[in-house]
Amino acid sequence: MDIELVLRAQRGDEEAFASLAVAVGARLHAVSHRILRDIHLAEDATQQALLSIWRDLPLLHDPAKFDAWSYRLLVRACYAEGRRTRAWAPNLRLLPASEPSTPEGLSEVVDRDQLERGFRRLSIDHRAVVVLHHYLDLPLEAVAETLGVPLGTVRSRLHYAMRGLRAAIEADARPAAREAAQ
């Protein structure tokens, strides 16, 4: 990240912030979409996160930590979107646009569908840890710093989340396997 850009935006330079938003917007949006699993919710969360970044930039003590700090604000925005929509959001299931037709491909599709359902059962807390660690490749220590929680909490959330996803795959795979065998 261009530290000078961050410093200028911190001092209220709107043009610098626009450049910053262009530079980080896509990355933030990719993360919010993977946490929330809904394109409209993700757009709202990304928009809110970018506005929070602008509003709170003077609170950022170390501009070199902009990336981690921006992810923290993004996850907060995802929490807010998750809370706001929990009561009414339909449980949409997203499947790949083109589904492979080979048996192995079918298995992959089934796995993805199962993952989708299993992931949606996780809290935003747990989803955030999975996405930051397995999508952004952040080490667990960096995930803890980003989310502002102890390392042990991150380990626990990741363990619980991965166990949940594994259980979802295995539970849903059993009837599918039986059908395939018939």
Partner: protein, 285 residues
Amino acid sequence: MSTERDVTRLVRSWLEEGVTSLPDRVLDGVLDRVPATPQRPSWWPARRFAKMRNVARLTIVAAAVVVAAVAGYNLSPGQPGPGGPSPTPTPTPTATQINFSSVTEGGTLLTPGTYVITRFPRVRIVFDVPEGWSKGRYDWAIFSETSATSVAFMTVSDLIADPCAPEPTIKATGVSVADLLAGLEGTPGILLGTSTPKILGGLPALRLEIAMPDGWECRTAEPVLFDIPGVEHFAAPRPGETLPVWLVDVDGTRVVISIQANDSPAAKVSEAEAIVEGVRFEYRR
């Protein structure tokens, strides 16, 4: 039965699917709203205030209104000040001072000169600004144009009981600088470095370094320490950070001045210290 490695591989592969770009309309929506979205001051996370209970918030707002009304009455022409019949400021402001509030645009590079902060009811803070400093969006702090150094000027009423608590509660802290110091000594997570007697604006002052130990468990990203009359809190150092502050009693008002350096060059920090050391006060007796 899936192995742990299988699940991890599946999850990673699955996460690769999905959007990777931000629609222009989303970005445009953000940038359209930026001019109407004020930035928060670097020390006062309004988020914390927003999370306070409504009763506490209303109480603070009501108190701020009363304080402002009383101050406005006392400072209005022809009204005696709270401490006596004479409304004459001490010392008399000079014509060369620039009202800091008159610089309305956030991020404006300040013309070198003498500025006066008038946002506090009973005290005006006068300071000299060299080249290379700008005003943020607020009437109490200046920022270096070339580094992350900033100087904040404020008055403090009380302390926050636990800087790292998610919901800040106020700890009543007497009225004197000594009371404030004693309160700081008993605040969890706060370490006080060497305190040095100073003279600021002709008044006895104390310079001390406030730190939070590295590794201290803080349940909030923005720890807060001082309660400012009005509705705001002043941030504490984060774990591992040190904040130099000057405490001075200006005729019954506790003024706190702080430098936030953020690994700035030593020369810039020295420049900030010189700004603080040159500060003057105007107040009503």
